[in-house]
Symmetry: C2
Subunit: 344 residues, 2 copies
């Protein structure tokens, strides 16, 4: 069923039917009702490609996802983020499309997306420090919003980000207040901007307290469970092991806890742990009492805000870039306690 045959059935022109369906005023209420009814009855939906061709809009938002390092997609954060974003897309009639890109092909892929006209805008996930994709997208003129920011990039762009620096600074201060002096940071990959900022916060808090950061206590990699476990196990073997650990995600914190258990130590009593908590649906930080003391910020909520912003950007491209800073909340759970030295 297409416009033409529907129009014929109704004894109307395609123009009129199209206008009736799209809410234009140049059509009488009676006709509109008649048209709408017929459309419903015949299960008519305008062909999206034809509509897109005619209007120049795709009603699709793209997510370009680095593949070689599959970090983005397989990171459990991804699902919650996308779930949040999809809520906004659905509300505004957009679909979301994922394009997988091998490393180095990013420029190609963005050019292709705009040349092929398959999306109206993109979400930039996982920005790195000094991320070249931002100037690229600005140059191409494809509307985009960044999930996070990119240190070192001066041009204007829209973003939604957690105040990673401040939240890790506060978390570190919290541990310092508990008397901890050897505090480890099991960070994400430090080329990622969020990890970079978290380290800044961590270091700033240490320096402010007059403590020189120890490179041996700072680890950086993809935030898997195995990674959290491995680094913790190693550090606990040191001559003067850390008494507190800052973990970058719930998943790696789970590995951290496993290593602590295996070492015969007790969480909170022997080693304190604070993690960042993205508030993932499948990995809630406990039900009543939080398992971990954590800096919490819902990535699902971030996804929703972000996609709303992108849709606005698409619908009025000339409006100034918006930004939105989310403050993580420090929730105190059962994974932190006074430094062991203090307790004696």
């Amino acid at each position: 069923m297409n416009l033409k045959t529907l129009a014929k059935k109704l004894q109307l022109s395609q123009t009129t039917v199209s206008r009736a369906l799209n809410g234009y005023p140049e059509v009488s209420e009676a006709t509109r009702r008649r048209v709408e009814e017929a459309a419903r009855a015949h299960n008519y939906r305008p062909n999206s490609r034809a509509k897109g061709l005619a209007t120049g809009r795709a009603m699709v938002i793209g997510h370009v996802i680095p593949a070689s390092t599959q970090h983005e997609m397989v990171n459990p954060v991804f699902g919650d983020f996308v779930a949040g974003a999809s809520r906004a897309y659905a509300a505004f009639g957009y679909d979301m499309m994922f394009t997988r890109v091998d490393d180095g092909d990013e420029e190609q892929v963005y050019h292709a997306l705009v040349a092929k006209g398959s999306v109206d805008g993109v979400i930039l996930q996982g920005p790195r420090v000094n991320d070249g994709r931002i100037p690229l997208l600005n140059r191409i003129g494809l509307p985009f919003i960044v999930h996070g920011r990119s240190s070192g990039i001066d041009e204007s762009y829209g973003w939604v980000d957690v105040n990673n620096k401040r939240s890790f600074q506060r978390a570190t201060e919290f541990l310092l207040d508990l008397g901890h002096r050897r505090i480890a940071l099991i960070n994400g990959l430090e080329q990622m901007d969020f990890a970079h900022r978290r380290r800044e916060g961590y270091i700033k808090a240490l320096k402010t307290a007059g403590i020189e950061p120890d490179p041996a206590l700072m680890r950086s990699a993809e935030m898997t469970e195995v990674y959290g476990h491995r680094e913790t196990r190693e550090m606990l073997k040191m001559k003067t092991p850390p008494t507190a650990i800052l973990a970058a995600s719930m998943i790696s914190a789970i590995g951290v806890r496993r290593a602590i258990d295996e070492a015969g130590l007790t969480l909170a009593r022997d080693v304190s742990v604070i993690t960042h908590d993205d508030d993932l649906s499948y990995l809630r930080n406990g039900s009543d009492v939080p398992i971990f003391t954590a800096t919490r910020s819902s990535v699902q909520q971030a996804g929703e805000i972000l996609s709303r912003m992108l849709i606005e950007k698409i619908e009025q491209p000339d409006a100034p870039n918006q930004t939105h800073m989310l403050e993580a909340e420090l929730v105190v759970g059962r994974s932190t306690g006074p430094a062991p030295e203090m307790r004696r």
Copy 2:
């Protein structure tokens, strides 16, 4: 840059340029080379909507995702599955599109997808027992492959599934062989077909061993960490608590372990745990020695097989439906041991 202006620049007709670019034989090698070069130079990419309109193919594969219960998207399994699928899509030039659907609107959404022509086929995720979507899609005639199967549906359809029944039967037998008699099942939602089959396997093994399944030891819900923790804590409080637990996913198994720790018990010694392991990138079951004894089957691999099958189905819709059964492997880790009674 579009076909018309590119053709004009080359002093050729649109036909020739199009044919040159699409590998048709009616164009000389010399011209083809010239055209390809110009296309590259001007960064030309055919507009996908126009191409789709002309060919009738969208080169897009759809994933329709239930929203109200956001199980699908926020389940960490989702990311790995999609990562696997995207590998095949990228190889064959397809994009993937996600449509969020509120409960009850599924029929609407599928109809819309085919009417709007926005996808060439869909992947059906999270099939339930007796899932009405399968007959619906067959009726509509939209190519699809199911990730899993649906007990109670007799019509023919393509699927890729893990042999859930057998793998849980084996896992149960393994525990029985270790002397366990009170074995709990912390299952997924039992309207989900995979959970249904797992329970069948579990029950079959028990009955074969002459043990009457105890309803108090069978739990069912979304497989979150908190759920694994809560059910385990409850069951450990019973007068005769289980000595072994079968968990439905790594995430809930992590909750199970947490509850065991909190109860002052030791994994493997006091309580044995076997989990199903989807081999998620961020939640590997340990590095060298597996953390948990587990039935393992890579969901990423399933995604890749599935999407390959769907592409074949799209390209030759009349071929008979293919099916692919994956056998989970039982890996023995450190979470299982002889039943406590046996050790005395």
